[in-house]
């Protein structure tokens, strides 16, 4: 057994294949759970019971829904641009999967002599890769809206473009202090060479100060974390920023004309993206998979980092669900004002402040 695993992970090609399949499986199973989690939590917040029939506590409800969507008739309206109409759901899935490929979801495991990183690929431009892929995620929504040949999807698509381009800027700005801070951590106080590799960022958050506070970046970069989370909610088109699919105004938004498995693809992509942004926030600000293993025997201890990662991610996902159950949808002009006049200036101001403080700490005051 060990020899087989060692042989597989020793080979670059087969280890890539196995990791891709594993990431795919994780995301699918996780989505099944996440949809159930959201429906259940929202139900309790609204004094309802929520899905509780299929399987224990309704856990199989999403699976049943998925099977239903899979076998449903797919209606293609007459006025669609067929090529783009069919490409859009697939285009929604690709960036969602690719983003999770670069996120480390556990401590590297040693099998025999090979070290297996629990991460699809450790890019040295991991953070930028995430931003690049999330900029590609807009295409599916706009294409779907445009290719449907119908007015509500088009409105949804145009809204999505403006919203996602605006909030991407805020998201990128929130991540710049992280790279700066990483450079300081690497060089022990002075400015050194930073890193954008996500696994390296997790390693840099190891240790603690004053004995009990973990060395997570969020304690230094709280404004960045807040800006990132607000932008992340807007990027994934979740309430209160779900104007892209505001059912009281534009029916279903960009996916109005989609049914069956094509709709399911959009649905999946939305939930995977939600999981992704939470996982990124955990990796960058909340120490990723770091956490105590309580001195457990090594047979169980290897799974503890994965458990910590999932626990932290679901804590953030709970906030997503909580927001949805609590806040009413924003007006469109409020959304744009928040993005351009509040978040981006706030991000810039925090970046300048942080840079100045760190420059003082490293180089001393300019008059001394």
């Amino acid at each position: 057994m060990t020899a087989v695993l060692e042989a597989i992970f020793g080979n670059a090609f087969w280890s890539a294949v196995v990791k891709t399949v594993v990431v795919f499986a994780i995301l699918m199973v996780n989505t099944l759970f996440l949809v159930w989690f959201e429906r259940r939590v929202v139900a309790f917040m609204q004094n309802r019971i929520g899905p509780n029939r299929a399987g224990p506590m309704g856990l199989l409800q999403t699976l049943a829904d998925g099977i239903k969507l899979f076998f449903k008739e797919q209606i293609t309206p007459r006025k669609v641009e067929l090529g783009m109409y069919l490409a859009a759901p697939v285009a929604a899935m690709i960036p969602a999967f690719l983003i999770f490929m670069v996120i480390p979801f556990g401590e590297p495991i040693t099998i025999g002599n090979t070290v297996v990183t629990l991460q699809g690929a450790d890019l040295n431009v991991g953070l930028l890769f995430i931003l690049a892929m999330s900029s590609l995620a807009v295409y599916s929504i706009v294409l779907a809206g445009w290719a449907s040949g119908s007015k509500y999807p088009l409105l949804g698509g145009v809204r999505a473009t403006a919203q996602m381009i605006s909030y991407e800027a805020a998201m990128g700005l929130a991540l710049v202090p992280v790279v700066l801070f990483a450079s300081i951590q690497i060089a022990d106080g002075s400015v050194g060479v930073g890193t954008m590799s996500l696994s390296r960022l997790v390693e840099l958050q190891q240790g603690s100060f004053r004995g009990f506070i973990p060395g997570w970046f969020v304690f230094w970069l709280l404004p960045s974390f807040i800006i990132f989370m607000i932008a992340a909610v807007a990027e994934t088109n979740r309430a209160p920023f779900d104007l892209v699919e505001a059912e009281s105004e534009i029916v279903g938004g960009y996916h109005t004309e989609y049914s069956g498995i094509r709709f399911a693809f959009f649905f999946l992509a939305e939930y995977i993206n939600m999981f992704n942004v939470s996982a990124i926030a955990v990796t960058v600000f909340l120490g990723g998979w770091l956490g105590p293993d309580f001195g457990l025997p090594s047979g169980i201890a290897w799974a503890m980092p994965i458990m910590w990662f999932l626990l932290k991610t679901y804590a953030l996902l709970f906030i997503f669900v909580w927001l949805r159950a609590t806040l009413p949808r924003m007006r469109y002009d409020q959304l744009m004002t928040l993005g351009w006049k509040r978040l981006i200036p706030a991000g810039l101001a925090w970046l300048i402040l942080f840079t100045l403080v760190q420059a003082f700490r490293s180089f001393g005051a300019p008059w001394s």
């Binding site: 930028l128 690049a132 698509g157 145009v158 381009i165």
Partner: protein, 176 residues
């Protein structure tokens, strides 16, 4: 081997995208073709282990195409197709001549010896981000800053052109 396969697939994709961009009657398909070409070029950068440039290529160009997309939908209209009447009669023969000379240039360039890929595979690549940062913020810091200034001037100029059309309109306060 892998590099060749990747090159052939994405080379064809880049060509297909470029041809679509010029050929498509619908401007949205043109924008998508441009996006495809940009993305394929990013893949070439990756296969030459220039990860940073690849990612920046996707962020900058794919992001910019998105804006183009929006302009197409907003300004030209959703389902309007391009009018193909030729206004400059010399344009098509000229294009043919240019294509032929470009082909000749490719043939000539193909005869030269080219060095591609990583120069020495045993040489540890210490992250292209670090290397680029070193070059950009130490040796080339002045050109870098000047380019930034130039871009800001261009953006400010565009805004100014949009707001102040003639001298007559200049009295109107644009910030009102």
């Amino acid at each position: 081997m892998v590099e060749t396969v990747v090159f052939v697939i994405f080379g064809l994709a880049a060509l297909f995208g470029a041809i679509t961009m010029v050929w498509a009657r619908n401007p949205v398909y043109s924008a998508m073709g441009l996006m495809m070409t940009m993305f394929s070029i990013a893949v070439f950068y990756v296969s030459n282990s220039a990860h940073f440039i690849a990612v920046v290529q996707v962020i900058v160009y794919a992001g910019a195409v998105m804006t183009l997309f929006l302009f197409v939908i907003m300004l030209i209209g959703v389902d309007k197709e391009e009018d193909r009447t030729e206004n400059l009669p010399i344009q098509r023969p000229l294009a043919l001549v240019l294509i032929l000379s470009f082909g000749a240039a490719v043939v000539v360039a193909g005869r030269l010896a080219w060095t591609t890929g990583i120069r020495n595979p045993l040489d540890p690549v210490n992250g292209t981000v670090e290397a680029i940062g070193d070059e950009l913020f130490k040796r080339w810091v002045l050109p870098f800053e000047i380019t930034g200034l130039l871009l800001i001037v261009a953006a400010a100029g565009a805004i100014a052109l949009a707001f102040f059309k003639d001298d007559d309109d200049a009295e109107v306060d644009p910030w009102r």
